[in-house]
């Protein structure tokens, strides 16, 4: 069976490649244009935690304080400050907890490694598990009640019998 790709197989493989390539292109070229100022304000604001609300970002919160924060972000952008400087200004007044995500330094930065560790660790476990469950011989393994695996001659005979049955069916 190896090396023989049917039409269906080709379609599947080509489609998968096309999809993956498109996704890659979108990922790389997605954010080409520099965002306009309102979008920049929105971006920075959605990374800041509204200090008087629970869970809402400064971008989403209707509170007056959040509005004034957005105003301040807008003015500071107009005055030429960078997003990092603006964020640092708020952190100076409110502390690290005003950022929606943990800062990249200190013990909180472990948050960024955690998902990767979890997923890679899980993948490793899965791979090891599947390897352990698969008998090295391949398709057949010992039956639970201890019968010996098929010898290669038996497998050949079985294969021939199955092929003959298929021909008879068709």
């Amino acid at each position: 069976m190896r090396g023989r790709w049917s039409a269906a197989g080709l379609v599947v493989v080509l489609a998968a490649i096309a999809a993956a390539a498109t996704l890659g292109l979108v990922a790389v070229r997605g954010h080409q244009q520099p965002p306009a100022r309102p979008q920049q304000v929105q971006q920075i604001a959605s990374g800041l935690h509204c200090p008087i609300c629970k869970d809402l970002s400064v971008a989403d919160s209707p509170a007056p304080l959040a509005q004034q924060m957005r105003q301040q972000i807008d003015e500071q952008l107009a005055a030429g400050r960078t997003p990092d400087e603006i964020r640092a200004g708020f952190v100076a007044a409110y502390g690290d907890s005003v950022l929606m995500s943990p800062p990249r330094h200190g013990i909180g930065s472990t948050a960024y490694y955690l998902p990767l560790i979890v997923v890679l660790g899980g993948a490793l476990v899965v791979v090891l598990l599947l390897r352990r469950w698969r008998r090295p011989s391949g398709v057949d393994g010992a039956e639970p009640d201890g019968r010996a695996p098929l010898t290669s001659a038996q497998r050949q005979a079985l294969r021939r019998a199955v092929e003959r049955l298929r021909e008879e069916e068709a």
């Binding site: 998968a16 096309a18 690290d96 013990i107």
Partner: protein
């Protein structure tokens, strides 16, 4: 009322402890008579809980302000509908409701196993009584709902304004509770299987059915919560990654993993240890969730007021973890199963992958939610872990889950015949690729949006194809209905996947393609947004029994007006806004009034264009219905059980069994 309630709760506690002991002794000494008594105790506890909750309801409805709880959570002006809802509006009362639902589940288990009783039944009953005893201990101890005031208040404070703003408060907590509390049953049977030391897998099908039912309730509860957040809170979104929301999601993810890996055990006898661990883990997560929600450990929009129950919940959580996983460690030899995998590309491997991804998502959410706590404990720093973090960490994981949901049902068990698999996968993969290429050609530049739509298409076409081909074949042989009935579990599962795909479409569209704007308009002034002209028509005031409603009417070109409101409650220092939503199949037009100036001649609005949100609700409903269809008991099964029960009766005749 207070008398009835307080003593009723004490009685309930005594009965629960008694029931736990009776059932345990009956199990160890194999005396069916004791087990029968324990069953009867379950009904007694339920009756007691009904009376106690009824007493609280009566107190609420009759404005009995001698009770502290009634004075804090209800008032004379509160409409009757919301007075009833006050039962679960605050910590103490909701614990009464919790106990009622738990007693209901225990009684349901007692009734369900009236004729056919597996050997794990008495142990499970004992565990259930034990959990009930803990929650009754809470209402008899740190959290007393029937506490009285030294002097009856003239009028109550009324429920928190946010909780009486919308009728959804009637259904969101009950379904959530039914889901949360329901995990006690599979947990009880899992622990029972470990305690009883039975090597057989009889408990598996019991646990599977209950977990499926509970999963349905929790799905509905979560979707209703999102609906409430969207329709009531007015911030334009439906999920804020609030700690309490996160912990509600955790048992759902673990239960989903269990419902898949259970197939490994049923069909191949694999993963026994894993399945019990999952069931225990799901219950432990609900206990952890309760601890986080009510123990005032993290700041949250859901957090109940600080109370003394935190240490109690933590102790209980510790006991559950120790007992559950300790038992698993102890019974390890009994749980080992020979596992065999013929091919890496097979349904078994896909299920293993599914479990790994769902548990990875659970771990990410769990760790992210407690990280602020851990960091503050270890280093004293205060950090926030919010929405953006969870979204970027989980998006790839959930995308992979979708890919599996679209391909795994097409894979056979054991080993795959490559040619056949490829033929089955051809259409879904082609459709997904077309969607990806098509949307990006059409100008969509957002990676997650393109990937999300592609994955959802894979799931829709893959599962749809399986349903269609199964029905096409079955129709010729025995008719559509017969085919559906015989393959009910499979078709229900495929339907749930389709619901998931619809949900994914809704989430993808609304998370990545939403637009919003904030604008201040004077009366008569208009603005253009989302292809409509929106004109502020003016403010209307309406005096109601318990609040003043100010409606800011916005005329929308091409359709009816939007009517976002500000509700002024006497108890609240700030008005509570209610958004106005024009729901649509493709997009929602959503309006919130942020503030009013100049006596209402000027108003600040937030307008949102939220694409695809309707598919969230539709997808959630389809998932829940699919799950319910899978959980529905089959007629043939009941006939089987009746035969077994009759056989049992013949064996035990004269011993006082049913």
């Amino acid at each position: 009322m207070a008398f009835l309630g307080t003593y009723g709760l004490m009685l309930g506690l005594v009965l629960s402890v008694g029931g736990a002991v009776t059932a345990a002794v009956g199990a160890r000494t194999d005396r069916p008579a004791l087990v029968q008594t324990a069953r009867r105790i379950a009904f007694a506890v339920l009756a007691t809980m009904v009376v106690v909750d009824g007493a609280m309801l009566a107190a609420l409805l009759s404005n009995d302000f001698t009770l502290r709880y009634v004075a804090d959570n209800s008032s004379r002006e509160t409409p009757v509908f919301f007075k009833v809802l006050s039962l679960w509006a605050a910590d103490d009362g909701s614990l009464l409701f919790w106990n009622l639902i738990l007693a209901g589940y225990v009684a349901a288990v007692a009734i369900r196993f009236r004729r056919y009783r597996p050997p794990t039944f008495p142990y499970a009953l004992s565990v259930l009584f034990g959990v009930q005893a803990f929650y009754l201990l809470l209402v008899n101890g740190p959290a007393r709902p029937f506490g009285t005031l030294a002097q009856a208040a003239a009028d109550g404070r009324g429920p928190a304004p946010l909780l009486q703003n919308h009728p959804l408060m009637a259904v969101h907590p009950p379904f959530l509770y039914l889901g949360f509390i329901g995990f006690t049953v599979p947990f009880a049977f899992g622990v029972a299987a470990l305690l009883a030391g039975t090597g057989s897998d009889a408990w598996v099908s019991i646990i599977r059915r209950w977990t499926l039912l509970v999963w349905c309730f929790l799905t509905v509860g979560l979707v209703l919560g999102a609906l409430w957040s969207y329709s009531v809170l007015g911030w334009g979104g439906y999920w804020a990654w609030d700690p309490v929301e996160n912990v509600a999601l955790l048992p759902w993810l673990v239960a989903t993993a269990f419902l898949h890996s259970i197939m490994l055990q049923e069909r191949r006898g694999m993963a026994r240890l894993w399945n019990i661990a999952l069931v225990i883990g799901a219950f432990a997560l609900t206990t952890f969730g309760t601890f986080l929600t009510r123990g005032s450990v993290l700041s949250s929009v859901h957090a109940f007021a600080q109370s003394a129950v935190g240490p109690a919940y933590l102790t209980f959580l510790g006991l559950v973890l120790l007992g559950g996983f300790g038992l698993v460690a102890w019974r390890l030899p009994m749980l080992r199963t020979p596992a065999r995998l013929e091919s890496t590309v097979s349904r078994e491997a896909a299920i293993v992958g599914n479990n790994m991804l769902l548990l990875a998502a659970t771990a990410i959410i769990l760790l992210g939610t407690v990280l602020p706590l851990v960091v503050e404990a270890l280093a004293g720093d205060q950090i926030t872990v919010g929405g953006p973090y969870f979204q970027s960490a989980l998006a790839p994981v959930f995308l992979l889950v979708l890919v599996l949901a679209g391909t795994a049902p097409l894979l056979p068990w054991r080993a795959v015949n490559r040619e056949r698999a490829v033929r089955r996968l051809r259409l879904p993969v082609l459709a997904a690729a077309l969607m990806i290429v098509g949307t990006s050609l059409a100008g969509l530049r957002n990676l997650y949006a393109v990937a999300g739509f592609g994955a959802a298409t894979l799931v829709l076409v893959g599962n749809g194809q399986e349903i269609a081909s199964g029905l096409a074949v079955g129709r010729r042989h025995s008719g559509v209905l017969r085919t559906l009935a015989r393959g009910r579990r499979r078709y229900a599962g495929l339907t749930v996947h389709i619901g998931l795909a619809l949900l994914a479409i809704g989430i993808t569209a609304s998370s990545n393609l939403a637009e919003q704007t904030q604008v201040t308009l004077r009366t008569g002034e208009s603005t253009v947004f989302a292809g409509h002209t929106l004109r502020y028509a003016g403010l209307e005031a309406d005096q109601q029994a318990q609040r003043v409603v100010l409606t800011a009417r916005v005329d929308v070109s091409g359709s009816g007006p939007l009517t976002p409101r500000m509700n002024l409650y006497p108890a609240a220092s700030e008005p509570i806004g209610s958004p106005s939503i024009h729901r649509g199949v493709l997009r929602d037009l959503y309006a919130s009034v942020i503030s009013l100036q100049d006596d209402g001649n000027s108003a600040t609005f937030r307008f949102y264009r939220n694409p695809g949100v309707t598919w969230l609700w539709i997808g959630g409903a389809v998932m829940a219905l699919g799950g319910a269809a899978a959980a529905w008991p089959a007629r043939r099964r009941r006939a089987e059980e009746a035969t077994v029960a009759a056989e049992r009766r013949r064996q035990f005749s004269g011993a006082g069994v049913v």
